[in-house]
Symmetry: C2
Amino acid sequence: MPTLDAQPLANAIRFLSIDAILRAGEGHQGVPLGMAEIATALFTRHLKFNPADPTWPDRDRFVLSNGHGSMLLYSLLYLTGYARIGLDQIKTFREFGSHCAGHPEYDPACGIEVTTGPLGQGIANAFGMAVAEAFLNAKFGSGLVDHYTYSFVGDGCLQEGIGQEMISLAGHLRLGKLILCWDDNRITDDGSTDLSISEDVRERFRVAGWHVIDVDGHDIDAVSAALELARKDPRPSMLACRSIIGRGIARLQGQRGGHSGKLFDADAEAARKLLGWPHKPFEVPEEILSAWRSAGQRSDAEYRAWQARVAALPSEERAEFERIQAGRLPDGWREVLETYRRRAADHAEAQQGIMVSGEINGLLAPVLPERMVGCADLEAPTSHKRSLHAFTAEDRGGAYVHCGVREHVMGAMANGMAAHGGVFATCVTYLAFSDYERPAMRMAALMGLPVKFVFSHDSIGLGRNGPTHQPVEILASLRAMPNMHVMRPADAVEAAECWEVALERRSGPSTMVFARQALPPVRRTHVGGNLSRRGAYVLAEAEGGKRQVTLLATGSEVAIALAARARLRAEGVATAVVSMPCWELFDEQSADYRAAVLGLGTVRVAVEAAMRFGWDRYLGENGGFVGMESFGASGPAEVLFEHFGITASRVVEEARRRL
Amino acid sequence: MPTLDAQPLANAIRFLSIDAILRAGEGHQGVPLGMAEIATALFTRHLKFNPADPTWPDRDRFVLSNGHGSMLLYSLLYLTGYARIGLDQIKTFREFGSHCAGHPEYDPACGIEVTTGPLGQGIANAFGMAVAEAFLNAKFGSGLVDHYTYSFVGDGCLQEGIGQEMISLAGHLRLGKLILCWDDNRITDDGSTDLSISEDVRERFRVAGWHVIDVDGHDIDAVSAALELARKDPRPSMLACRSIIGRGIARLQGQRGGHSGKLFDADAEAARKLLGWPHKPFEVPEEILSAWRSAGQRSDAEYRAWQARVAALPSEERAEFERIQAGRLPDGWREVLETYRRRAADHAEAQQGIMVSGEINGLLAPVLPERMVGCADLEAPTSHKRSLHAFTAEDRGGAYVHCGVREHVMGAMANGMAAHGGVFATCVTYLAFSDYERPAMRMAALMGLPVKFVFSHDSIGLGRNGPTHQPVEILASLRAMPNMHVMRPADAVEAAECWEVALERRSGPSTMVFARQALPPVRRTHVGGNLSRRGAYVLAEAEGGKRQVTLLATGSEVAIALAARARLRAEGVATAVVSMPCWELFDEQSADYRAAVLGLGTVRVAVEAAMRFGWDRYLGENGGFVGMESFGASGPAEVLFEHFGITASRVVEEARRRL
């Protein structure tokens, strides 16, 4: 700890933030000015990190959940010496291409652990990081994995449902190394928090089993002492930091405008006088900068000791640790899937879609020890627990997180695990409930995190639970999302192929969609390659002449397309069936491949037990579609398919009409 | 209250439920068997209702939030004498076409107040109903509006984020006539609640300002006494009803399988012995049925007195009350919009999209006193408060609900208001955060509720807050939803037209999407009709010969299309611009109209600052698209439009390439 009085260090954050926001002409000063002392306490006295190696696996994680206060983070990264966040970046805050974007954007090499902005996501990511840490600590021991996860959080994150889910679940799981610093400034965008909340937030945390400490958020020593207490307590901790929003801008501080009211030169001038900061814009006096830089080197000894421990590991153990940290897949995983595929093609039995995925994941469990699965209270019907045991407050070796009926925090937890590294993160629920999880799925796609979002009950085929549980628009809504792969396998063979592709994918999330009902086998011959890898392929080519009709289908409707093809063939119509498990992969193929598969120039009819929305690009202007035109209904699956006309007869009819 | 011992009344619920579930071969017995006594206490001693007039405006509302327990509700409706829920319906539980669907499906004429199933929605709807009641009570007095809202709720609803948001906000708003009965059975689908929750749920409610009463959920008198206390308390009340899931099925009760484990004949037989119920399946002894039917007539005197009070109202007041209850629009609303449109066309100023909507809503406020607006802590940037004042614990006359950063409960609150009736429900936030609200929006579409979901910040045009705040896939994801109108007006005139259409729409929700940035006027001449009513129309026809190019656009990109048209015209290319504010309305038009507007046979290029997904149906196989192919970025709006190539030059280029 520097001997220098700490207050100027906090003020360095303040003025970098004020200057950057002034230069940008907009921004949110409330958080950097209100949390400057809290951040100073954490970064100069507690946080274990190494700006020279931002992705050190055993670093403490820091998540700015109130992401609009991004200048707080950028100031800290610059001051502590992250090479990529120089003054040039600070000065381009909010300009296109700057590392200092409006909200923090995931970039571990810059020291930005996750993208934050949509409220509540950050603390839920932090929760996921703390779960990952506990799991890896149990696996590798405290010599290799032993760090805290800190998150700064405002009132908004705690009002959001996802925040509340996190509070409840983190308390239940007793994640003692998760520490939140709440910016208790009693102001939100609308004004006083009295407008929308009356409850005692401290008590709400205590009810959930958290350790809560009240502290003056502008007293660096007090915050530091509270952090010390928090680190020692076996419960997750919440520091309720009483603070003044926008502190230092006399005209706005403590008021609604403190959040992001426009700053003027006169505000900065007045703040310089008020806080005794005579320095020019963007100028941090040498002595203060060097104190900050030494804070950035505080963990050097720990860092070297950790490196030495890793180096001293038996070579096999070290290789495994490094493999898992790097997110590389282990030897043998592909063979597991290959064997499964071969067997599935040979046996060719109808099986419930989601059970197939469960079985595949069960087989992967022994070769993929870094796998963790979260599930939102649907263990039995989604079947992805299998040989795993539960991750609990008492057993950190468990890999299955019973999330309760809390889909949103489940998804964000998986994002946090993936961002943390060392965990292969999967979560499971029904497809209809993906809407509850969707904001987290969007964040995974935006960050490019390789989370696997698994869903069961993918259509009206789930039957009598009715339209609330029957996705019809959800495939389209997920396919519309950039950087999201949506995979809907037709049978066990395709399921194994899709899982192979999903396992390989590192640049973004995969949504794996499975039927509740039994899927008749459509791939009865084992082939060496992975046909699903190209997104769509000709499953059954037209026989007896030039192709006249191309039937396109996914998932459970591929079998319907095959049945329709058989009828059309019987009528002498040369018909091909194309299975399209993943549109996004298909769209990446060459124009020639796409044209050949789609059969441009032939009559095209698609069948999918979902809305047509999005299909037209594969159908052309005259193509036919057999699917849903409304929400579903409550009734037996076979009755519903008949009622909504998702049948081979309808497919034949649509094709015939166009011949 | 019947003099008959009440226990057999509860058992009538039990056996109807067991018999129906047995006949269906599936279902969830946990709730009807576990909450039979609670329901009996409520329906035979407290609930104000009239099975002969299920939509009596001043009835107490009852919401089964744990909707999987639907047989509880159907049993109650049959027993108390709702004409549409006869034994024939009970016997067709879960069959296609039955009123007794897998989960309750919105049908006020049957006594089903809202669709429930996705957990947490029901209690949030109930909360919205209680808000509506308080608002209407303030407006019309207790003689006309004075009822309670009861909701049954399980552990799942309370674990969900939306449930937590509701607890916090309902406590804050001190909705004393909202009463929850929590089925505290300590079991969820995965097994013991110990798997996923440790907090004291009672305390969690108390922290939020609720009145909590502990009660034995199988003691009808105790539950009844607790309900009496609840009704008298000025705080919202939660009865923590200790209960045994699936009570009566000895093999399953109190266990995980109690929830929905398959029932067999032997289970029913054993239950008949255990509970002393010798009657045949579906048989309710006359004496018990008649006790239930008198319970159904308990409120007759109140009903008649209420009718008399309504009849005695001064005719103008009565007409207004009946108009509002019926959801009919008042005189004068259309003139307000007409005047606005005329002025907007004449003045033709660029205005921020969301401010235009705010202004329109501000003008409607005096003629539409039933309007309520919820907003998720974005009052200033979404601008829909205007002349309204806040609905608070102290002031029930306020029409603006500061929801805090709680989008999910906001949406479900609006659904509850709309289902309640008497309120024109609107809610507002940023479009990127619609994902947080989406599960509620889906329920509005599914139920066909006329909620107006208003959004601002509809594209990269919001600028430097970056990709977390920039919708690119969200228009598509909402357009994919059945029965949802998505409207994206291009300027102030179209905004007024779209609001006109949205105001008229009673059969489902409307999503109104507005830009943050200024929209240059594209409609500079006042026309009598509402051009947006057909969803899409030719804004600027090709001049100087046969149309060669058709440019399609929505919202802020219509101006870009017009600029491209000017350039193409200068090159001698006859180009039309089509504005498409609402796809769903356009899709309802005749094939001829659609073909003429789209200009089949011409070169078609669409421009929208969003993903292409969904556009192909209007573009044909050779159409061009200018828009987003990825998430956005942080930077000034004009830089982003240039960077992502959403410019008139690109539109011209795409058109030219195809000529």
